[in-house]
């Protein structure tokens, strides 16, 4: 049986933990709001980019000499997995669910006899994946020093990937991130970015009705050469923003349940503490009374 002092200490420590989790929850809530507005603000750009790309790609597709970034290398032997996770833990299953999706994909690809290469964005994903795929990880991109996520961060990652693609290090690139659906639901998502999957059915349907005959300045292939890397950066930027919002959402709900659990624990321990205290008083009274009676 723990002494009264032990119980008091234990309650105090749980209370201190509860204060921390409560504070973390509130910080995550504030950051979530900011991340969510950032993710929503970035949406129009990505949407317009998709339309323009679909228009041009619809025209160039099938033609010989289309850029490799658009049509792929024609092989699917080497897969590049770009796994985006958070830099910090304590956010529920956020990091592990993205990593699990990536790991399952990597295992499936390797079972099919493909080569798998991994680039980790974010330290947490690296920590998890390095246990099983240490020799597959070719690069780790650290965003810990980045305070507010900017387009330039995504651009840097995109440049690295394009450089590797041009050196024919891989054939297909897939991006792993967590899509932000709501505070309680974040969906780990895999998206193929090289070659990009375009909404082809839509472009063809649109082409059937009224095709705007675009003029291009400069030529289509020159525009594509600029547009494709930028599209890649935009996709990565969107993934990073969605990830940031998801991370804060996941952290908020994880810390909310941690605070609630701490509350339950405090309640239970206070009851034990009070019972023990009463038992001690009763015991002392009995000792005094029986001592007096003996006289």
């Amino acid at each position: 049986m723990a002494s009264l002092k032990d119980l008091r200490n234990r309650i105090a420590s749980v209370k201190a933990t509860q204060k921390i989790t409560k504070a973390m929850q509130m910080v995550a809530a504030a950051k979530l709001r900011r991340a969510q507005t950032a993710a929503e603000a970035a949406r129009p750009y990505a949407e317009r980019m998709d339309t323009i790309l679909a228009n041009i790609a619809g025209k160039v597709a099938g033609q010989a000499g289309a850029p490799a970034l658009l049509s792929g290398t024609g092989k699917d032997d080497v897969h590049m997995l770009l796994v985006c996770t958070a830099e910090r833990g304590l956010c529920g299953a956020f990091n592990s669910s993205i990593s699990r999706l990536a790991r399952d994909r990597a295992n499936a690809l390797m079972a099919a006899g493909k080569t798998v290469k991994i680039i980790c964005v974010g330290r947490k994903g690296y920590d998890i994946l390095r246990r099983t795929f240490a020799k597959n990880i070719v690069d780790v991109i650290d965003l810990r020093t980045v305070r507010t996520l900017g387009y330039t961060n995504a651009e840097e990652i995109a440049q690295k990937i394009v450089a590797r693609y041009e050196a024919s290090e891989f054939d297909i690139c897939t991006l792993f991130y967590s899509r932000f659906k709501s505070v309680i639901a974040q969906i780990p998502t895999a998206q193929q970015i090289i070659p990009p999957q375009l909404p082809e059915a839509k472009t063809e349907a649109a082409a059937g009705t009224n095709t705007p005959v675009y003029e291009y300045e400069p030529e289509e292939d020159e525009i594509l050469a600029e547009l494709l890397p930028r599209n890649l950066a935009t996709q990565i930027f969107r993934a990073l923003l969605e990830n940031a919002a998801s991370e804060q959402g996941a952290r908020m709900s994880a810390m909310d349940s941690a605070t609630r659990n701490a509350g339950d624990m405090i309640k239970k321990q206070t009851i034990t503490y009070n019972r023990t205290r009463q038992a001690m008083i009763t015991k002392e009274l009995i000792e005094i009374i029986s001592g007096a009676e003996a006289l």
């Binding site: 750009y45 228009n55 525009i223």
Partner: protein, 138 residues
């Protein structure tokens, strides 16, 4: 004067959306003016100054590059970055130009060097325009 829909978006957010009369776009192959009912066009942009005229208002913005798309719905500009000319910090701009110059010195290939030299030239031109004050309309 007939007006048309104009949207200016950067990766971070939607910067402008509304009806305008005239937009002068710094296209990669020369500036062009967009009026209502312009033929569909897709163009890349070079670093330059974007002039937007709506009603009697004239707004001038510095854009660092991107794309312009003109369709029957109107003009959409996907800019990498856009700032109102009055808000451009000249010292910062000068610093970014000289940083670019330093990068040019260590370009990996002749082709890249040629491209970068062109961009540098355009940046210099913008710098001259910015330094010349907002009085020069074009």
């Amino acid at each position: 004067m007939a007006s048309f829909q104009f949207e200016l978006v950067s990766p971070a957010r939607l910067l402008f959306s509304g009806e305008v009369d005239e937009v002068i776009v710094p296209g990669a192959e020369g500036e062009f003016t967009v009026l209502a009912n312009h033929a569909p066009l897709v163009s890349t942009l070079r670093p330059g100054i974007l002039t937007v005229k709506a009603g009697g208002d004239v707004k001038r913005l510095y854009v660092r590059g991107g794309f312009a798309e003109i369709s029957e719905k109107g003009l959409t500009i996907l800019a990498e970055d856009a700032t109102a000319v009055e808000d451009v910090n000249l010292t910062e701009f000068a610093a970014s130009v000289s940083a670019y110059e330093a990068k040019l010195a260590q370009a990996p290939s002749d082709e890249a060097r040629y491209k970068m030299a062109e961009t540098l030239f355009q940046l210099r031109a913008v710098q001259a325009q910015l330094g010349g004050g907002g009085a020069t309309a074009h």
